[in-house]
Point group: C2
Chain length 243, copies 2
């Protein structure tokens, strides 16, 4: 999955929320984005419950219908780590660099491995792990509640610290997100310039127009991710406009 | 172990090399440092072979004779992670922040958990994990070969980057080491000032005199670690002088 993401950049990605979008609609969206050569489909949600009863079946239905790889993007929970559907192609292990808790920064990784092992899922049988250094911008009570994220200040020193950690920890990608506002183009540009060669840059949050997508690409984003933009009946037209 | 280290600081620690020091001598040294109220005994070596055949028995002999907790300090190896003797009290998981390889920075952690699981050692039965952000100073071909460590520049910007990573990743302690030279007092002082409250600061490498120990303590080190200083027949006198 990581190789595929590297090869297909720059591009766009869609994240479908399995707790909001009926599976039949998710399948249609998977078909639509595959036809547009999106390299993967993200399946994710900040909130989730009964994950094991719901998500593997949801992933299976998508994978039966469409060839596009499915990448899970959920926050971890103490005692369990990142939730894993064994039939997904990859799981984003997001290190929330601006979390107030070491758990969400990285200790969740250990939890996840212990859980996989308890479940008898050998490393070679698990989905691919893609390691992301995540950071959130703007007020965001939901991310604060989920992963203790505190908005990164949009100042040069604060961003330089994030970039240092990204480079030092060699995360596969940086995931910039703003729930309530918009990741500034300048932030994107700065992190592009200060990340290491090979590190991918994802930008997400509130993307609704093709102009925004193009502006992020111009600022160095490898992938512009949109979810909510397609959560409406006329999503096909919106998707057309976005690409 | 971490609580014990926090409670007993500032102090000194001895690291005994199980590949250099006969076990009977290690037991004598464990007794001697326990009598001096050193909170733990480190057992470690950059090089090791036949770890499972040698180290658990070595640890067992020490633990039969002395109550002092034993903490392992070895570099990880790809495919296995950090070597673990299940009877040790704790294992230092050192993230070599100045390594050229992501493996030695942190991915070895994942390897270690997979190995423990393959060995059937449940997380609750494993030794305590103590997470260290490690960095090396001065020319050091041995550390370069073992963990791809490249000397940290002794400049403010380079140290500031190390401090940022230490704080962000919330490592339990920082481990500063110089094999060939000496960690400068200024480096120690800077990292003390820029680390997070609660993070311990260990300094090691070439410590031979009580003046050096005191200078490091004055510069904010919580623990001054010495190994080679006691690798001589008159180690009891040297230990007396050091404390």
């Amino acid at each position: 999955v990581l190789e595929r993401l590297r090869a297909a950049r720059p591009g766009r990605l869609h994240v479908v929320d399995p707790y909001k979008i009926p599976v039949a609609e998710a399948v249609e969206k998977a078909r639509a984005v595959a036809a547009l050569e999106f390299p993967v489909l993200l399946v994710g949600s900040t909130d989730y419950e009964s994950f094991d009863a719901h998500v593997p079946g949801y992933v299976a239905a998508i994978k039966e219908a469409v060839e596009i790889p499915v990448v899970l993007h959920f926050p971890p929970r103490p005692g369990a780590g990142f939730p894993v559907a064994p039939n997904a192609d990859a799981v984003l292990f997001t290190a929330v660099l601006n979390s107030g808790s070491e758990y969400y920064v990285w200790k969740s990784y250990l939890d996840t491995l212990n859980t996989l092992n308890r479940r008898g899922i050998a490393p070679e049988a698990a989905p691919e792990f893609v390691f992301a250094g995540g950071m959130t911008f703007g007020a965001d009570a939901v991310s604060r509640a989920a992963v203790d994220a505190r908005a990164v200040e949009e100042t040069r020193p604060a961003l330089a610290e994030m970039a240092t950690v990204l480079r030092t920890m060699r995360y596969d990608l940086a995931y910039l997100y703003s729930r309530s506002e918009r990741v500034p183009d300048d932030v994107c540009r700065y992190l592009r310039e200060s990340s290491a060669p090979g590190q991918l840059l994802f930008v997400s949050g509130g993307v609704r127009s093709r102009q925004e997508v193009e502006a992020y690409h111009a600022a160095g984003a490898d992938y512009v991710v949109f979810g909510g933009a397609l959560e409406r009946p006329d999503w096909r037209e919106v998707l057309d406009r976005l690409v």
